[in-house]
Symmetry: C2
Subunit: 223 residues, 2 copies
């Protein structure tokens, strides 16, 4: 078991939110699941109030939908919203890649190499959870290195719409994604902004290939 331990830092509400987010993204809580504040509170050994704040936080990124006086449910994956999210993310990240090629922070550059190695290890072990965690860190480090950490915050919100589908498509092949990451960094190191943006575009288009397949295999997860 090498699940990413959500650190016991921050308030109880933040801990519950992090745990629920993980459960939803990994589809442990599949779309359509009814979430009761009272039940979650009991399971986590806390009061209803922190749970409520966690659910409000999740609703802001559209992972759950709160129906007043009725209940809270895990929203289904929307292909339409996924396409929109991918479009927006491509707009942001290609710009970030281009900017990264214009100048990159040395410390972040070194950390990215470490992350890529860790990603390879996770991929060969077949532990998808950690792989996706390192994938997130890669994109975050790229934004930071390019001098725009705010871009990652925007991407993080957008990514929520794609993460669950990515979780399904990554079942088999993870290593190709690392090669794409390396291709991006090669272009960045060569100071070739257009090539970096193009490499990023290719990387973010990957999801489009496997999407119809997983949608056909798991129709109940989509709306």
């Amino acid at each position: 078991m090498d699940a990413i331990r959500v650190p016991a830092s921050g308030s109880a509400a933040q801990q519950v939110e992090a745990q629920l987010r993980r459960a939803i993204v990994t589809l442990a809580l599949p779309p359509g699941t009814r979430l009761s504040e009272a039940e979650i509170a009991e399971r986590h050994g806390v009061s209803r109030q922190p749970v409520r704040e966690a659910l409000i936080g999740l609703s802001r990124t559209r992972l759950v939908e709160i129906l007043p006086q009725r209940g809270t449910i895990v929203v289904r994956i929307s292909v339409k919203k996924m396409m929109e999210a991918r479009f927006v993310r491509e707009a942001i990240e290609t710009a970030v890649a281009k900017r990264a090629a214009a100048g990159f922070d040395a410390g972040a550059r070194a950390r990215i190499d470490d992350l890529l190695d860790l990603q390879v290890k996770a991929a060969t072990r077949g532990s998808q959870e950690t792989f996706q965690a390192y994938d997130e860190m890669f994109h975050m480090a790229l934004a930071e290195g390019a001098g725009c950490p705010l871009a990652w915050e925007a991407i993080a919100d957008i990514k929520a719409h794609m993460d669950r589908a990515c979780h399904l498509t990554l079942k088999g092949s993870m290593l190709p994604l690392v090669d794409q990451h390396r291709a991006i960094m090669t272009a960045v190191d060569a100071r070739d902004g257009d090539a970096a943006a193009e490499a990023m575009r290719v990387h973010l288009s990957e999801i489009l290939r496997a999407l119809p397949k997983v949608e056909a295999e798991h129709p109940d997860l989509f709306e």
Copy 2:
């Protein structure tokens, strides 16, 4: 008095959050102000709990900063974050503009014309509040018309970092911005994606011109 009425819809927490957001953006609550849950609750005639949820919501868009067990303060305007936000917003909105030129919803197109007229009226009346409200609606309608309402959600979060500075820079001239909006739509109508993106880039670069001036005039508002 033609302040935008925040509609009495939704929960008390949402109402309080909307009112506080307006107060912060209009600088009625200047940066550095200490916000006490108890005081705000009393002023709004509600309990502390909805106020708390409202403050949490504001902290997610970095308008306020919650220091655990210490207090909540209105964050100062960060030029660095503003530049980053402008960069990300340009990345998103130029992509949206280009996409809008490729195909635009008819209903949204009609609504934009109405919005532009309303914006001119507000500008000539000198009512900055409504002008900025219509400005928001313009960009939102553009994203919707381009078939990417999700883009607006991303922009809305990003915009929080810029709104207060824009509020200062708009003191005098609002009409030029409407012309820029018209220029964007002209390019969209002509199906010229590159021209639309360029017009949007010019529009979003406007803030850079007046920024040093307002920063020098109001140093206490910046960090």
